[in-house]
Symmetry: C4
Subunit: 254 residues, 4 copies
């Protein structure tokens, strides 16, 4: 099979100079939470699903008893005002499980957004501090020096040598591999303890993103969304333990 | 080499609108036990073997001293009555060992059954509870909403959010990837402690499957079959430990 | 790069109906020891080397200070008497490290010997008992029932359900995948404690192999050969620990 | 995506009979430290970057807030005197993470230097002793016997059976796979405790390399360079722990 199976969901209108906003699972699920809240609030439309052999071999079960293959999802949103831009959103259940899978998958994602004329990428994530924080700041890194100043004006923070070891995963790779295709990239990382799904950190990220995109949304329902994701996370944790056992069974019991 | 080597065993008659019933090794070996018992009882005929590089590099030894490369197997059965349907069975020694291998292998299996005009997939497995259970229920999940009601009528149970983390392995992937090919899928999971080969759980699954397929078989010999599989499982456990040591030897002793 | 790099060493005469005798590193290094002793004694000629990306990324250092990429090696020997047959030998530093690599590599090996018209494969290995043994027997398994009787006549032993979990690694796969190409296969496993290089077990295997091949060699120098291999094994064990540390360094120290 | 993405940085002059000098991360970072110090001192010019899917999915963050995809780098230097030769340098952030990746990557590197007519490879590394050492010697191994004598004259040391298990990683593979392309190879290994970035060992290696290349550089700033690399190594160690947690989060928190 191909590394990725693409399934188009709806006919998708031609987008004008769109930006990509990515929020996949990660530390504190900050990126996923922020993007899913944004998608819900501005009623973005799903137009594509990605299935990938570097995801776990797993289906989820919906509340109505139907199954759902684990996936990544693309949504689009058309600008409503003159100072806004068309947006493509990327979210999903998993990032690639292996290093090589991350590279493969991000290249496929870049292929897709390149076809949609995306020249600017925003990736959202959490910056794990390992301790509680009252007013999380939003750290930033960009592909180009001139973007640093612009992002500072929006309230993003640049700390020398932080995150010390860089950005690991799709949020980093989209910037790194995207730059090789002449795409500009900005990563916004909300400070977070990192242990639980963190709506406070997602709120901090969204506040800056609202300034960047000239979109205003209601942030009050963010806690609800966080609870929902936390519940799924909890179940995944359980199935994870179960599936580890299962894997061992698979090996041991013929 | 190709990911999968296909070996046709016997000439296979044209099947009419067949269903697939899958039972590969897994929790409590419920699926494998149920399918192998069914194959034996209705005298289904093997027509194909699959060898896969995501299986362990291993041959088993038959009781007559001959070797047997580890594999998956396809059987067929022609309907005897008007209210029955032709069936293809899938069972085997192993599931793919890696996530990616699971995807590759399931796609190949779907290729094969698609060529045989399968539009409906039943996957059997165990739902591990981690504790003893007197009367195991049979949980169910389906690809389509309308199948939920039908399966309830056959006695399958739908519990909201269970299994919480979905279905991992071939039983889940066959449904998830099959749906992308417009195949309907039903997964039947017998409740089981999950530690040993579980004939009680397999019996519960088979009772529902008999209603679905309008096939009546004798379930009394199921315990015999379970002992046989348990014995192999025990040996596999031993070789597993041995082969882990061997692998280490392979690395250490040149 | 291709999975395997083949390097032809010497011009190789056309072989007449040759058999393959394989002895790669494994439990007690029984197979490797037996084959290398045999190669030395009958002065077989190397004609091919295989390099494989499923081997460790490693060169050995010869006693003269030159480097040697880790490899597998093919030797040939032309029959001297009427009751003997031409032989191809396979030995080497490593087996493939991964399951998938084992399949890939064995398929390549089968390609090579198929070109040389091999129809019969003998694989040698150790059967680890985990305890000392005074007079090691030689267990056997074959691809075909008729070979069982023949091998019994040569003194090989068939024990029902032993080895319980079959044969793992190249010695098993060569039989399993070779059979799919209509090659006959025999695996001879010398009983061994399994911890150290075991010349006693190799001697038992060679005694039977001498009867099969009608070749008589001096077995007295086997202990010398064992010491040599044990020394390398010891060094590999040390580098293994070192390289594990190194790998961690590679990850940690940029 | 291809295994490796090549990005040419500057127009590169035709090099005359150049040698390759490689120093990638490894034990004590001896090779990387030596090569980077040399590049800085003789002002070699970068002409190519390699990105590889066997590197971690990671961007580093420069002090100005911009991102940098992890990579390997090629530099060139044109000879200034008659007794010098043109040089290509290879250094970088990582070696391939997997065995197979190491083979793939080294083959690509050999493709690149072959196009640049390189016939002679010098690989630099550390030889980990596990204890402090006052005057580190420089061990050597070569692809050809005649090079052994030459290297001895430059002060390199050959100890029988050391390193006992050979050379693991790019420094070894470049010699092993390079030889299959008729390239000569020399590996220089500075003795080092192996725990920290080791400027003393790098200095010992560079002293011999200066004799070989007829290049004289100032070694006094080596400690500065070592501190810099140690700092990055420290940060990588931290991110490594963080990213391990992150990976677990990725799996557990959907």
């Amino acid at each position: 099979m191909d590394y990725v199976i693409i399934r188009k969901i709806n006919k998708q209108p031609k987008l004008k100079n769109p930006i990509l906003i990515e929020g996949l699972p990660g530390i504190g699920n900050v990126g996923k939470l922020a993007v899913e809240h944004l998608i819900d609030n501005i009623k973005a439309s799903k137009f594509m699903e990605l299935y990938c052999k570097d995801f776990p071999p797993q289906v989820f079960i919906n509340s109505d008893g139907t199954t759902e293959l684990v996936k990544n999802e693309f949504y689009y949103w058309k600008a409503k005002k003159k100072n806004q831009r068309d947006i493509i959103f990327l979210t999903g259940d998993y990032q690639g499980l292996s290093s090589q899978g991350q590279y493969e998958l991000v290249e496929k994602i870049l292929d897709i957004i390149e076809e949609n004329n995306v020249k600017e990428i925003y990736t959202l994530g959490g910056y794990g501090l390992g301790h509680e924080i009252k007013n999380p700041k939003v750290l930033c890194a960009t592909t180009d020096k001139k973007l640093v100043k612009i992002m500072k004006n929006f309230g993003a923070v640049f700390k020398k040598n932080e995150p010390g070891g860089g950005i690991v995963g799709a949020s980093g790779l989209l910037l790194g591999l995207g730059k090789l295709r002449d795409m500009q990239g900005i990563c916004l990382m909300g400070e977070t303890p990192g242990y639980l799904v963190d709506p406070k950190s997602a709120k901090a990220v969204l506040k800056i993103l609202m300034k960047i995109t000239n979109i205003t949304i209601n942030l009050s329902a963010l806690e609800e969304k966080a609870k929902e994701i936390q519940q799924i996370a909890q179940q995944l944790k359980e199935i994870e333990s179960a599936s580890i056992e299962k894997t061992e069974d698979l090996k041991y019991i013929g």
